[in-house]
Symmetry: C2
Subunit: 241 residues, 2 copies
């Protein structure tokens, strides 16, 4: 599987992808899922792919070699991989797309400013909480790394190294491109600190009070206020085989 | 959809379920997915179901009315719903099972002490980080509620009210059974405090340093130490249509 994120913010774009592929539990590979197309001063684009690797690579190949196609018509492409495609051309606005395997696509808006592909659920809660169009680029980079950390922790099919790109709106190039491996000091710090502080926050939350007094701040059960206790099946005939 | 969790700890068992069902976006219902079978002093069992509601309810019905079956043979049951089943009978050990829709099952162990059914991915990272067999019951109850909060925040198909049960090993009954709705003070506190403190922890993490100096604690890119920057495709012919 795969986990990739693309974020479009007022300040720019952020992309993160993992690199694990497999064709069975004993055939695990590491392949780049991120392609960066940059012509400084003219355009800057990033493509992230999930799905069948041979087809993803074929699509890339076709896109890269399109100038070799004969005639003037558009080349015929085979789409069988979900992908995130984003960037900026000349004086146009930045754009970020999620392209479905059927070939149709949606574009990021103020309301939905990030897309995920692959194993997206584990890392979605932190993005939902933290990312909005006004989020600064560095904070968004931090957030996608935390989201990736949660995914790596819960799902074996997503793996290091990661590819991270941060693009500043209007720059038409980027120097903030990095491949993050096990030794990367920042990602190691994120993994250790986030896990540890999450535990501290968790421990700082009050334990449930099952018999809250009238003055309790946040009781789980307050008999006086008649929070309904659930009924149980208790008659003697009941049994489970 | 559904989100249910069952946890087996040294101290006891914890169960949590949501109550949303739907058969289309405009046909949303609230149904109990948790059934509690208690005969104080003899046995205490909890069943959580996910999947086709009519079949879940039929299975419950068959289990509840088994005494009415004719003859001495075991009743014939239809299994088409994943379920979590756990509890304790007499002097036996507590047991917790995940029953697949095909009818086969697995049992919780020290290594895998919790099961989830339904929309399980959003809320898995926090369980992975916090739950182990030694976790106290109150802490586990807090943890399953945090896990449910993350799921509610990221997935519309999981909804309040929640049913929570905490069972203490050996007690063969439980008074810690509660139905949690929007007004429950403890769950409201969890939702607000967890989100806010998560944000504080997030903000307390250092922003990435793209050009780390030799004395930086956790730089994202350290040119001196040759953390590989990714190559880009920059030759002029490259373009994406």
């Amino acid at each position: 599987m795969t986990y990739c994120i693309g974020v479009k913010l007022d300040q720019g774009l952020v992309f993160l992808s993992d690199s694990r592929t497999n064709a069975g539990l004993d055939s695990i590979g590491t392949f780049r899922k991120m392609m960066i197309y940059e012509r400084p001063g003219d355009r800057f684009m990033v493509m992230l792919t999930a799905g069948n690797l041979s087809i993803s690579q074929q699509v890339r190949e076709i896109l890269q070699n399109e100038r070799l196609a004969e005639g003037d018509g558009p080349p015929i492409t085979i789409w069988n991989a979900t992908m995130i495609l984003g960037g900026q051309i000349g004086t146009e606005s930045m754009r970020l797309f999620l392209v479905y395997s059927a070939g149709n696509f949606i574009e990021a808006t103020k309301e939905t400013c990030f897309f995920q592909i692959g194993e997206s659920k584990y890392g979605k809660p932190v993005l939902d909480r933290m990312i909005h169009p006004g989020t600064p680029l560095d904070e968004a980079a931090k957030c996608v790394l935390v989201s990736m950390d949660s995914t790596l922790k819960s799902n074996l099919s997503v793996g290091l190294p990661l590819d991270l790109v941060v693009y500043q709106a209007g720059s038409l190039q980027s120097d903030q491109i990095v491949c993050i491996d096990e030794q990367n000091p920042y990602f190691r710090m994120i993994r250790e600190t986030w896990g540890q502080r999450l535990r501290e926050v968790f421990e700082s939350l009050d334990a449930p009070e099952w018999n809250g007094e009238a003055d309790a701040l946040a009781p789980l059960v307050v008999p006086a206020r008649r929070y309904e206790r659930m009924k149980r099946i208790t008659h003697p005939g009941e049994r489970i085989v």
